[in-house]
Amino acid sequence: MKDGLWLEDTSFRYGNLWVLRETELHVPPGRTLIVTGDNGVGKSTLLYVCAGLLPASAGHVWLDGHLAAGKKPSELMREGVRRGFLFGQGGLLSNLSALSNVTLGLRYHADVFGIDEKEINARARAALGQLRVAQTDFHALPAHLSLGVRKRVALARALALDPNFVFLDDPDGGLDSATRHLVYERLEGFRDDSKITVVIATNSRQLIDRLGIHPLELAHGHLLPEDESRRSRRA
């Protein structure tokens, strides 16, 4: 059984532009992978490929032994692969309120989770509460929320699904100090959870230091430890 995230000889490219070349990677449950890299190098795309949101051009991506791409998203959920994804700009559905954004996944899979409407609302409100989203923002559309609140709502949406995989794209980008520390606390919770596999794309030194994890750098389609990557570039 391939527990956690496995990249097996995985490549991805946009036309002639390679983002990932024949990469082998394993992130077991309870481990956190941080990926850094220059702007435009494809960190977000790497997250999409790892989460199975984009199919790899070659090779396979496995999430807890299930092929990540080529299946309907709901099939993965039914097989027990629960993904929480924080997009760079939040990725909230613009026609749903903050609360409805959090309840959507729960409501769609209420039969899988075995929960009723009352519990859906309770879980969503608890997740929003953990991220300290004000009750007055619960019924606001994302367009009426600041970036910081949008990111917290998106993180609450990921949290509410009780995920076993968490993918975070630039989680502290554009946040003020108080919100950043709140997000860091939540990320430490993910890092310390032995059941969750976490992949973070960031260039924030503060976040890397806070989580105390040695990052890998994505450059020219290869994932290398940062110091090795710098050495190879100098060479």
Partner: protein, 284 residues
């Protein structure tokens, strides 16, 4: 490259190619586009049979909302158009055959029920809701909302495309019936007032020319035209990759292709249907 979006415009830059290669590329592009179009329709329809009672309940709620936006909110526009179309047909027929209520009734059945009601309703829905659907879905692509749905385990085709397609089908059929009623009523009223023809002669003309198989054609047109509008609007909306500038381009493409598709389908169905079942109007 924008790091938050899964698309790089630089990858579209192609080297200079000879004419054979250009023709080949175009043929391959057309084939893959047709394939993608068919896949959108097939996958959207099959998604309704996927397991998940909670998902089905949620999607049915979205369908009702879509019928509200596409059908109910278009009633006033369809009323005005139906009224004016009925009036203009009466003006024309009155000039040709004044006071012949029966003949006017036959003309109304042939023109309004068989041709204009389906086509004009589909054009209204394509212009009004087709653009809205394509723009909404395009913006969802640009803002990573479609990827966000997938990450939540929500099937985008089931949650986004299917309700909009069903909404368009239900709305087109319902609006066709409504358009026919408004248009015929307006024509009767104006005909009686302007030419002095009797209501009974109109009724005789309409009843004498409506065949049972007209109902089959009427609903076949409604179902087909509704599907075309919903399907193409969703497909071209989802064709947007990463740039907001693509949204109006794809919305315009969605409407143009929907209109073209509707006219071709309407004409082909009329020709094919009467070739199979024979001429609709009994000899006077």
């Amino acid at each position: 490259m924008r790091s938050t979006l899964p698309y790089d415009p630089r990858s579209d830059v192609l080297r200079e190619a000879g004419w054979v290669e250009r023709v080949g590329r175009r043929a391959i592009a057309s084939l893959s586009e047709t394939w993608a179009l068919c896949a959108t329709l097939k996958n959207a329809i099959s998604s309704d049979f996927a397991p998940g009672l909670a998902a089905r309940k949620l999607v049915h709620g979205v369908m009702l909302t879509q019928v509200m936006f596409t059908g109910v909110q278009a009633l006033s526009l369809v009323s005005v158009i139906g009224l004016l179309i009925g009036a203009s047909i009466i003006i024309q027929t009155n000039m040709m055959v004044p006071a012949d209520g029966e003949l006017i009734g036959r003309v109304l059945v042939a023109v309004v029920l068989r041709e204009l009601a389906p086509l004009i309703t589909a054009i209204v829905v394509a212009g009004r809701s087709g653009t809205a659907i394509a723009t909404e879905l395009g913006n969802m692509k640009v803002n990573s909302e479609v990827l966000a749905l997938s990450s939540l385990g929500v099937d985008p085709l089931r949650y986004v495309v299917l309700p909009r397609m069903v909404g368009c089908i239900v709305s087109v059929v319902a609006l066709m019936i409504y358009f026919s009623i408004v248009s015929l009523s307006a024509a009767f009223a104006l005909g009686i007032l302007s030419s002095g023809a009797s209501l009974s002669s109109f009724q005789q003309g309409v009843a004498g020319s409506v065949m049972p198989h007209d109902l089959v054609l009427f609903f076949a047109k409604g179902l087909g035209l509704g599907t075309i509008v919903g399907w193409l609007s969703c497909h071209f909306g989802l064709e947007v990759k990463s740039s907001p500038t693509e949204v109006p381009q794809q919305a315009s493409r969605a409407v143009v292709m929907s209109l073209l598709g509707c006219v071709v389908y309407n004409t082909a169905l009329t020709a094919g249907f009467y070739w199979l079942v024979g001429p609709p109007m009994p000899a006077p």
